[in-house]
């Protein structure tokens, strides 16, 4: 009998190796400009970038821009999710609609959302609505496809059982369709959250509505490399947070479900 069990030792080893990996990455980054491999004007020292990062964290203007980006993200994600759930459920439940919309969906889905940026700018100028068009379009499909998939997954025997017991349409929806679809919906939501963030920032970069993305573009055109890199790190941390939060929510919501679903290939 060992006092610290092998499993805990292994977990500790993992965590330590992970820290070593991150530290090593930062160290190599610091060494590259120090050794003169790349001019610090283009790849600034890590120390400078981190200093700038902390500077920004105490700057109220930075938080306002972050808030602006996250507001677009939240509005876009909410609208897209509601639209996708409603349309996805209707289309998924009615075989006629499923067949009729199939080609449309297969053509519209692969259109890269950013191709719509010019159109959005024409319609709304450099306001938030322009960014929302892009965010909603991109995240809509993630949820929509998962919902259709989920609704189609309702077990045929379970459906017949429900019908034979005379459950009303409404009861069927809440006791049968909803529980089956929920895991799919959560997967779609997690993917959509990541996509919405990417496009919120991208739209700001290209369109120029206020937010982190515009700040990035401004630092670039001003030649402020440490500021640019610090913002890239911020977006990475933001993306990481969104991923972790949605993975956590997914696991909590589906804890009753015997198989917390893996990544659904898209």
């Amino acid at each position: 009998m060992r006092v610290p069990s092998t499993r805990r030792l292994r977990a500790l080893r993992r965590a330590m190796l992970g820290v070593v990996g991150l530290t090593g990455f930062l160290l190599i980054w610091q060494l590259i400009p120090t050794l003169g491999l790349i001019n610090p004007l283009y790849l600034p020292y890590v120390t400078d970038v981190l200093a700038r990062l902390f500077e920004q964290l105490v700057d109220l203007a930075f938080w306002r821009r972050l808030g602006s980006t996250m507001t677009s993200w939240a509005i876009g994600l909410t609208v897209a999710t509601i639209a996708a759930v409603v349309l996805g459920t209707v289309v998924g439940l009615v075989p006629f609609l499923r067949r009729a919309t199939h080609t449309m969906v297969e053509f519209l889905r692969p259109i890269p959302s950013v191709a719509l940026i010019p159109l959005a700018v024409l319609m709304f100028g450099i306001q938030r609505q322009a960014a929302l068009v892009i965010i909603i379009y991109a995240s809509f499909w993630q949820v929509f496809v998962q919902v259709i998939y989920g609704v189609a997954d309702v077990d045929a025997v379970a459906r017949d059982t429900a019908r034979s017991f005379g459950l009303t349409r409404r009861e069927q929806l809440s006791h049968l369709v909803l529980p089956t679809t929920l895991p799919y919906l959560m997967t779609g939501l997690r993917l959509a959250a990541a996509v919405a963030l990417i496009l919120a920032i991208t739209a700001e970069m290209v369109i120029g509505n206020p937010g982190l993305g515009r700040m990035i573009e401004l630092s670039r055109s001003a030649g402020d490399a440490p500021g640019l890199y610090a913002l890239v790190v911020v977006t990475g941390l933001l993306g990481l947070t969104v991923n972790i939060v949605f993975r956590f929510v997914e696991r909590r919501v589906l804890s009753w479900h015997q198989s917390v679903r893996g990544e659904e290939p898209l």
Binding site: M1, S5, T6, R7, R8
Partner: protein
């Protein structure tokens, strides 16, 4: 049978698994020998370490102490003199390869001409009655046919010993009888020695020339029983012999004693 050369010698084999919750002694002390050309069945109560023993024989697991010798040389890893047929045929055959590809795979590193390799594959598939299915994929076949493919793969490898781990546990009774006769026929016609692990008492008595009855874990050999049934066996007549019934009752009693822990250690 023709020569009484000792092929496999197991002496004081012991295997202890180390785990987070403490050590588990799977095999206590197993010793036995097998002559070239023999067909030995190994039975024991469930969870008695049959699979562990088999993996130690095949060189897939390193014993904690004791010796496994093959033809006088200690077994330290997988050897070309042995071929294993696993219980889970569905996970042991590669679904992306055809039946032919599966049988051919282990032969690739043997220095054979293409023609010689092809001859071995065709011959093995004919021996198990699957010459017509060479171009199919394993998952297109029934469970019994899949296990035939695994047997073909093993005999095409031309081993001295065939090690079979409860190979027919997952197939239906009728198929099982056919496969048992196939093993007996291959053993007779190809002078391959066979170690056949099973939890089925009737199967062990019907197939084996000798039956090793194992105790519960930590395991030792509780009885080494010679099966004095005629060498020509038949599913109907052999199983109806009074001697068959006697032997199976004897083995059954031994296993019941093993389960109650009444057996005596050597």
């Amino acid at each position: 049978m023709s020569d009484r050369r000792t092929l496999l010698r197991v002496e004081h084999l012991r295997k202890v698994y180390e785990s987070a919750t403490g050590d588990v002694e799977a095999i206590g002390d197993i010793s036995f020998t097998m002559d070239a050309g023999e067909l030995i069945c190994v039975v024991g109560p469930s969870g008695c370490g049959k699979t562990t023993l088999l993996k130690c024989l095949a060189g897939l697991l390193r014993p904690t102490s004791g010796v496994v010798e093959m033809d006088g040389a200690p077994v330290t890893g997988p050897s070309p003199a042995m071929a294993v047929v696993f219980q889970e045929y569905g996970r042991s055959l590669y679904p992306w390869l055809t039946v032919r590809g599966n049988v051919e795979l282990p032969l690739r590193h043997k220095k054979l001409t293409r023609a010689a390799r092809s001859r071995l594959v065709v011959d093995a598939l004919e021996a198990v009655g699957l010459a017509h299915a060479a171009r199919s994929h394993p998952w297109q076949l029934s469970g019994g046919m899949q296990q035939r493919v695994a047997i073909a793969r093993a005999i095409a490898y031309q081993p001295d010993v065939l090690i079979m781990d409860e190979p027919f546990a997952a197939v239906d009774a009728q198929t099982r009888a056919d496969l048992e006769d196939l093993v007996r026929e291959l053993h007779a016609s190809r002078s391959i020695s066979v170690v056949f692990v099973t939890h089925d008492i009737d199967e062990s008595v019907y197939l084996g020339q000798r039956v090793l009855v194992l105790s519960t874990s930590p395991t030792w050999v509780q009885e080494d029983l010679a099966i004095d049934l005629p060498p020509e066996r038949d599913q109907i007549t052999t199983r109806a012999l009074p001697r068959f019934t006697q032997l199976r009752t004897h083995v059954y009693d031994q296993i019941q004693r093993a389960k109650r822990g009444q057996a005596v250690a050597p």
